[in-house]
């Protein structure tokens, strides 16, 4: 389980954690709460090259479908296969077992001004 204070957030409600040039991406607790029970998740193909803000996954709750955007540029290296059988992991463990995919970054020092820390995310993007 990751601590939100150690993560970066996008205003479209994705979080990411950075280990070297590999990022893990999920959606915030606030986002899963807004969506409600998640019943289906469409994840990108491994090896897919993604640019900043490409819609690369879809998280669907009973009521709505929501696009998930690539928070940085790179190549999809892993997807969370456990979500296929248990999509509600995104509800129950948004910062842990409910991670969505990992991206190997195109640059070791990407421009990340669009990403904010947890405090700023909470204050500016959560009602």
């Amino acid at each position: 389980m990751l601590e939100p204070k150690d993560l970066k957030f996008a205003k479209t409600h994705e979080w990411l954690s950075l280990e070297g040039d590999l990022i893990t991406v999920g959606i915030s607790d606030h986002a899963q709460d807004l969506l409600g029970d998640i019943v289906f998740i469409e994840l990108p193909e491994i090896g897919l090259k993604v640019s900043l803000n490409d819609p690369i996954a879809v998280v669907e709750s009973v009521k709505a479908a929501s696009d998930i955007y690539a928070p940085l540029e790179g190549t999809v290296e892993a997807i969370n296969e456990a979500l296929d059988a248990e999509p509600t992991l995104v509800n129950s463990e948004p910062y842990g077992g409910g991670w969505l995919f990992k991206i190997r970054l195109a640059s070791t020092d990407p421009a990340s001004d669009h990403l904010v820390d947890f405090e700023t995310y909470k204050n500016d993007f959560v009602e």
């Binding site: 409600g36 289906f40 669907e60 009973v62 009521k63 479908a65 509600t88």
Partner: protein, 355 residues
């Protein structure tokens, strides 16, 4: 400014997530649509349905007049019985679908959808005979509660033992301290259940009583409109605005069973071979939830689109209703395809409901 249910403060205390439904602020869920769905299928849940209309029709001529204006034959309805019916426009299109409860020989309660109350009340007022029928629209000042699930019989029976013997579509009127409490063995979830109608003060007390359950025997939980929708889709019940509207007749909606025979023949005669109609589908692959507007193809030909859908919380299958522009074959697993975000999945049409 939306209408608030007389139970709104209780919903807030229970942590409801609200939605606007036909101008009413009503609970969408109290935490989880899926859990509330399973609560009804496995034990018992209660829904606030006070947004639905309550129109009382009474008088010596009430029975005869209602048989004329409604699509089903009110004369065939015995006292303390309820049935499903429609109010139709002059082309046979559905103004609204409603349940009619015969409380006494000369008193009927009509329960239309929240979205239809105004249209139904206006239509009835316009066609009211000069004498012999009294129309009283009490919508908004009645508390209506649906108690649904297999344990509903025991839960409702623990409060009102006289409900134990009620069969499907039967009802009783119990004298409350202030006003009558009408309890009917009806519902719209496909599980066993009751619907309760009474005045605001008694209704508020009943809601709290159903949830308090001092013996903790039934663990009754509040359920919102989110699960009410997935439950009715599993059960194969239509929803006005999705499967029913002013330009579809009940025959096209596949609900001719609920139309009196004389009217049915007239409607059928007016129905050419290839008018659009409502059909029930099941997707034959693991897919995202089917949603309104998704297209259905027979081979390469577009034949219709989804009007309602969900992944069944019971089975995980994609199910629901579609509007198709011609006759379809039931149970053919190879003919039809649904397009979801540019991917094709096999689909078949089946008899309504999977529970």
């Amino acid at each position: 400014m939306s209408h608030l249910s007389p139970l709104n403060d209780y919903h807030k205390e229970l942590g409801a997530c609200f939605t606007d439904f036909s101008g009413w602020q009503m609970p969408l869920h109290y935490g989880s649509i899926l859990k509330e769905h399973m609560q009804v299928r496995e034990s018992v849940g209660i829904f606030d349905i006070s947004h639905m209309g309550s129109i009382f029709v009474s008088g010596a001529e009430a029975e005869r007049w209602l048989s004329e204006v409604l699509a089903n034959d009110a004369c065939s309805l015995e006292t303390l019985q309820a049935h499903y019916t429609f109010l139709l426009n002059s082309d046979g299109g559905v103004i609204d679908d409603l349940i009619i409860y015969r409380i006494t020989d000369e008193t009927f309660l009509l329960v239309p959808n929240a979205s239809g109350v105004q249209a139904v009340a206006e239509h009835l007022t316009k066609h009211l005979p000069e004498a012999g029928v009294k129309l009283e629209n009490r919508s908004g000042s009645v508390v209506s509660i649906a108690v649904q699930g297999k344990q509903s019989v025991d839960l409702v029976g623990s409060l009102w033992p006289e409900t134990q013997s009620l069969k499907k579509n039967q009802l009783i009127a119990i004298e409350g301290s202030l006003d009558a409490i009408i309890i009917a063995r009806t519902g719209y979830t496909g599980s066993e259940g009751f619907e309760i109608f009474t005045n605001i003060e008694q209704g508020r007390a009943i809601w709290q009583q159903l949830l308090s359950d001092p013996s903790a025997q039934y663990k009754c939980k509040p359920c919102g409109l989110g699960s009410r929708d997935t439950l009715r889709i599993e059960a194969g019940y239509p929803l006005y605005g999705h499967e029913l509207n002013q330009s579809l007749t009940p025959i096209q909606a596949g609900l001719g069973f609920f139309v009196k025979n004389t009217l049915k023949s007239t409607l059928k005669e007016a129905l050419p071979e290839n008018l659009p109609r409502i059909a029930y589908y099941k997707i034959l692959a693991k897919t995202p939830p089917p949603r309104g507007g998704y297209e259905i193809y027979e081979g390469e030909t577009l034949i219709g689109s989804i009007t309602s859908g969900c992944l069944s919380p019971m089975t995980g299958e994609g199910i629901g209703f579609a509007l198709v522009n011609s006759k379809i074959c039931l149970n053919d697993p190879e003919k039809y395809i649904i397009l979801i975000r540019n991917k094709k999945y096999p689909l078949k049409f089946i008899k309504r409901g999977i529970i």
